[in-house]
Amino acid sequence: VKTRPVHTEPTEAILSAIATDRGLTLTRDQLLAALEMHARFRGELDHLRAVQFEYLPPYIEPATALQWIENGGRLP
């Protein structure tokens, strides 16, 4: 697994555009509260986004984690 630096910043305009696109009716206070929560964790989210999964095998899909559990802590 490789990583790359990621630095992003949520803004009111971005959240507002997403809300509009999704047809959500939110007050400005609600939007700003959401923005504050997003901004607080953006560094951690960028850290998660930095991970780059290989396109070629071995594949890691969302379901891989379930398969690992069902098989007792290893892949078949």
């Binding site: 990583t3 959401a34 991970v51 999964f53 969302p62 007792g72």
Partner: protein, 496 residues
């Protein structure tokens, strides 16, 4: 032990079997404790007085006939996100204040079929995700019981019930169990079906037990575990006899102590108590190995947890998002914030889970179990919800699930048990994690520690005082047939 309400599940079963106590007497003792203490503790949302009395009477007849089932006559409670046929199931929310399911959750039905006596539906953070602080910690009523299974942990700690069921998506069984000084079991993901339980996060949701001993957790797990076709993630792994095969000795067990993440941010008193507990296990035959978990530096566990949680929470509540104002204030903030989770981030988080699992896989090639602090601190004050680490304070939201959510992400079984007290006499807990479906190893470590110590027998002063009062006044209980306590989603302080 001076009241039947103070007995563990195993002690009650033994007493019923030897005819020194009956299910009806045990139930009345629990109802009396609830009647006297729950006004202060606030664990109970719905109290089923008449129904539980009918069930206890039937259990008494079964014991007399010699056809008692596995949990015959054991009083228990369910977190109120667990569906119960004919009994209101509110999710701790005004949104579902009138919700009465026609079918019980799979685990609720299994407890009933095993002869358990359902006494109460218990307080929960709203949909297991808000942070309402209406349940108090029995060790100090000014302190937080944690959550979201706050009522489930507090009811066991206050000796109102010997067994309760909670759910855990990022630490909602383990957290309250640690803060309230009881035993919490979050089984392997998929071992206990979630069918009929209000979902918070499909990927992270687990159901498990809160008890006053490890043996009780093992006795209860064998009843609630097992495949259910209504839960698409329910495992087909066979249910074991966790009790019969459970060994109480620690000799030869290899314990792993993580050198990354778990001890990086931890109150010194908690750190010392956990290391002392490990030393005690080593003195009695366990071996220890340092374990590195490099993925905890590579991927951000907190972002992984929250991204999965927000994405799935948003999807679950899509149908009622237009009724946003009917949610409690904390859940409203959570729900609005969750709307802005991208599909790309969600998939990145889901795929990253396996990187952490690979670390655990490598660890379990060298050890039988990992032992870590149950929480980074002890219970905070209800009107000042911060994590105190030494002299520093951290916002709870930033750190509360730090040690627990990783176990939900990986899906391994975890058992937390009381291992000491801090200088304020607040409980400290330690968590034991093992390979998927190796709950037996968790139970073995827990039972061995309980053989060596008596922290799990410690009783809050609140209960000690009640035992004295009950003796003075007698234990007459005059409760209505059904008690519907109000749903409260307000907070004394906020974490979101």
């Amino acid at each position: 032990v001076t009241e039947l309400a103070d007995c563990t599940v195993a002690e009650l079963l033994e007493s019923y079997g030897s005819k020194t106590a009956s299910p009806v007497e045990a139930l009345e003792s629990c109802l009396g404790r609830i009647d006297r203490l729950d006004g202060s503790v606030g664990a109970v949302l719905t109290l089923l007085v008449d129904r539980s009395r009918r069930q206890a009477a039937e259990s008494e007849r079964r014991w007399a006939r010699g056809d008692a089932r596995q949990l015959e006559g054991i009083p228990y409670g369910l977190k109120d996100i667990i569906g119960t046929a004919g009994i209101r199931t509110t999710g701790g929310s005004m949104l579902y204040a009138e919700n009465v399911p026609t079918e019980s959750a799979a685990l609720a039905q299994r407890l009933e079929d095993a002869g358990g006596v359902l006494v109460a539906k218990l307080n929960t953070f709203e949909f297991a995700g808000g942070s309402n602080a209406t349940t108090s910690n029995p060790w100090d009523l000014d302190r937080w019981a944690c959550g979201s299974s706050s009522g489930s942990a507090a009811a066991v700690a206050a000796h109102e019930l010997p067994l309760t069921i909670g759910t855990d998506s990022g630490g909602s069984i383990i957290g309250p169990a640690v803060f309230c000084g009881v035993v919490g079991l979050k089984p392997t993901f998929g071992l206990v079906p979630r069918s009929g339980i209000m979902p918070l996060s499909w990927t992270l949701d687990h159901a498990g037990t809160l008890t006053r001993s490890t043996l009780d957790a093992a006795l209860s797990l064998r009843v609630i575990a097992g495949h259910d076709t209504r839960d698409p993630t329910s495992s087909r792994h066979p249910v074991e006899d966790y009790v019969g095969k459970s060994d109480k000795t620690i000799e030869g067990v290899r314990l792993g102590i993580p050198t990354d993440w778990f001890f990086d941010l931890c109150d010194p008193e908690v750190d010392s108590a956990v290391r002392a507990a490990i030393a005690q296990l080593v003195d009695n035959g366990a071996t220890v190995v340092d374990i590195d978990l490099p993925s905890t530096k590579l991927v951000d566990l907190h972002a992984m947890e929250l991204t999965i949680f927000y994405a799935e929470l948003s999807a679950n509540h899509e149908i009622t998002f237009d009724r946003l104002s009917e949610y409690g204030p904390e859940f409203q903030r959570l729900l609005v914030r969750s709307q802005f989770t991208s599909a790309a981030d969600y998939l990145q988080a889901l795929r990253s889970r396996h990187l952490v699992q690979l670390d655990f896989q490598r660890a379990f090639e060298r050890v039988d179990a990992l032992v870590v602090p149950g929480q980074i601190c002890t219970a905070p004050l209800q009107d000042h919800l911060v994590a105190r680490i030494g002299s520093d304070e951290y916002p709870l939201l930033d750190v509360l699930s730090r040690l627990t959510a990783v176990m939900n992400i990986v899906g391994v079984p975890t058992l937390s048990l009381p291992i000491g007290f801090d200088s304020l006499n607040l409980p400290i807990g330690m968590t034991v994690a093992a390979r998927p479906f190796d709950e037996r190893t968790c139970f073995r470590v827990g039972r061995a520690f309980e053989e060596l110590t008596d922290f799990h027998l410690a009783t809050p002063q609140l209960v000690e005082a009640d035992i004295s009062r009950a003796h003075e006044k007698g234990a007459a209980v005059s409760l209505d047939g059904i008690v519907l306590n109000p749903i409260r989603t307000d907070t004394k302080d906020s974490i979101w």
